[in-house]
């Protein structure tokens, strides 16, 4: 059984290698985005003369930004796009015949191509950020909690993208739904801007949404603390709720898949 998983991961890795030069572009774009954030926040802290904004020192803000932003390299997947394509082209018929569930296949595929991203995007950009802003931004770290939060973020991203992809069973042209999520998803997850800075009523809403586990939770756990909507939780509790959140989300996606796949009709390709 494990041989099959290994084979899918290896194939995804090899396929991703063909895009290595495109991935290497992150070594330019990543530091550029981080630099503009640095310029924005350094001028804000300087203009206000405050040492704390929204409970963050300047160094903590930079830590949050770097950690939440770079994590995207490990989490990105195109499960929504793949599912759209497979449904529209009829390739899903062949996928449904495989001895792996579609979602499990996407998970293995993601592990393959994101492992490459870890090596040529994530680690180099983290190091470059250290050189740009000083390695002190990583000084206050709780690496254990952070690493434990990554699988939750990884699976949450995949499940949400699968849910977006499932829309293609119902819509002939599902591009709009995909765009809608891509445009606002990063913002709702706290990528680059801590959710703790948002108005209180929004923070309280975010507690019940899965998006915080994509960026806000990992970045906060990296710093060893978690507060949202006036709720402060110990890291271990945040991880526990994260697991529950993933299980609930999984059942929602599985149910949506079960109902939606009945609508699918293909003649084989």
């Amino acid at each position: 059984m494990l041989e099959m998983e290994r084979a899918v991961i290896a194939i995804s890795w090899k396929a991703a290698i063909t895009w290595r030069f495109s991935m290497l572009l992150s070594l330019i774009t990543g530091p550029m985005v981080l630099f503009v954030n640095y310029s924005v926040w350094s001028s804000i802290y300087m203009a206000t003369g405050k040492t704390l904004i929204g409970g963050y020192t300047f160094e903590q803000m930079m830590t949050y930004i770097v950690v939440s932003f770079t994590l995207f390299y490990l989490l990105w997947d195109d499960a929504d796009e793949s599912l759209h394509e497979d449904i529209l082209t009829g390739a899903l018929t062949a996928s449904l015949l495989k001895p792996l569930s579609y979602m499990y296949f996407q998970l293995l595929h993601k592990i393959g191509h994101r492992f490459l991203a870890l090596l040529i995007e994530y680690i180099p950009v983290m190091i470059m950020a250290g050189f740009l802003f000083g390695f002190d931004i990583y000084a206050e770290h709780h690496i254990g909690y952070f690493i434990a939060s990554i699988p939750l973020a990884f699976i949450t991203t995949l499940l949400i993208n699968m849910l977006i992809g499932i829309a293609a069973f119902w819509l002939v042209k599902p591009k709009g739904v995909k765009w809608l999520y891509r445009m606002v998803g990063g913002f709702l997850s706290g990528r680059g801007l801590p959710l703790a800075l948002f108005p209180l009523f929004l923070q309280k809403a975010f507690i019940f949404l899965p998006f915080q586990y994509i960026a806000y939770v990992p970045a906060q756990l990296f710093m060893g603390n978690y507060t949202l909507g006036e709720v402060t939780l110990a890291p271990i509790k945040v991880l526990f709720y994260g697991v529950i959140q993933v299980i609930v989300l999984y059942f929602i996606v599985a149910l949506a898949w079960k109902i939606s796949v009945k609508r699918y009709c293909g003649s084989g390709t």
Binding site: S22, L25, I28, T29, M32, V33, V36, S39, V40, S42, S43, I44, Y45, M46, A47, T48, K50, I53, G54, L171, V172, K173, P174, K175, G176, V177, W179, L180, R182, M183, V184, F187, L193, L197, F198, P199
Partner: protein, 256 residues
């Protein structure tokens, strides 16, 4: 004549998108909301007690509104030449487009019309109007529109450069990401950047023409180096056009 054909192209594009109304509507909403993410971030920063040196929140919104206005118009009418070139080069259909009896660049612009970017344009208009209702206008409307015009020229240059790069290298999908990063740089007041970066975005890559200078002109703020920025945009455009022509001379295809 060309304008008439252009108008027909636009009508056809809308007619074909209306076949899938829900998808079209959601795309427009997505692009509309996308333009409000930057202003929402600004709102949250000010709400949390932060501020930009010398700029109030509505004034920063005016920068973003002006940028969104120029971006919305440009993306709708011609920045898409970048993606249209990529699509045609990949499929080998570029020469089929060019045998039509219309100027090559004009033809490509017609073909690249992006109907859902109307969401960005409406958002830009809405943002600008919201910002204008919250600020005191002490500056010049004429200068504001002059800067906006050069902003449109700057975006055309970006489209030309991207299109030329696509002809030479084919796979340039991540160019969009770089354009997005440029937009982030252009969304904030010049005062947050160091002197060197400010000079870079005034001359070599004149991003400040997109938001900072139009907003400053309208607010009556100092517009140091504005002429330099306009000259830079003009030179940038001339170089882009030259490179675009040079790249297309090198293009070869087998005829679809």
């Amino acid at each position: 004549m060309s304008f008439k054909i252009h108008w027909m192209f636009i009508k056809m594009k809308y007619a074909s998108r209306m076949a899938y109304r829900l998808d079209f509507l959601m795309s427009i909403v997505a692009f509309f909301l996308f333009q409000f993410i930057g202003p929402a971030i600004i709102g949250i920063i000010y709400y949390a007690g932060g501020e930009f040196p010398g700029w109030t929140m509505p004034q920063v919104l005016l920068i973003m509104g002006s940028l969104a206005l120029v971006r919305g118009f440009s993306f709708m009418f011609y920045v898409g030449i970048l993606w249209a070139t990529m699509r045609h080069v990949e499929r080998g259909t570029l020469e089929l487009l060019f045998i039509r009896p219309i100027n090559k660049l004009w033809m490509l612009m017609m073909d690249s019309f992006d109907e859902e970017d109307i969401g960005q344009l409406i958002a830009g208009l809405a943002l600008t109007l919201i910002a204008l209702s919250l600020v005191d206008v002490h500056g010049s409307w004429l200068l504001y529109f002059v800067f906006l015009f050069f902003g449109l020229i700057f975006f055309l240059s970006i489209g030309l450069l991207g299109s030329a790069a696509t002809v030479l290298w084919v796979k340039t999908r991540r160019l969009y990401e770089i354009i997005d990063i440029f937009m982030i740089f252009a969304s904030y007041p010049k005062t947050i950047y160091s002197k060197e970066i400010s000079l870079l975005f005034t001359t070599v890559l004149p991003l400040f023409i997109l938001g900072f200078y139009p907003a400053s002109a309208l607010l009556g703020f100092a517009i140091d180096n504005a002429v330099l920025c306009i000259v830079s945009v003009t030179i940038f455009f001339a170089i882009s056009l030259y490179l675009w022509n040079a790249a297309f001379k090198k293009y070869s295809g087998a005829g679809g």
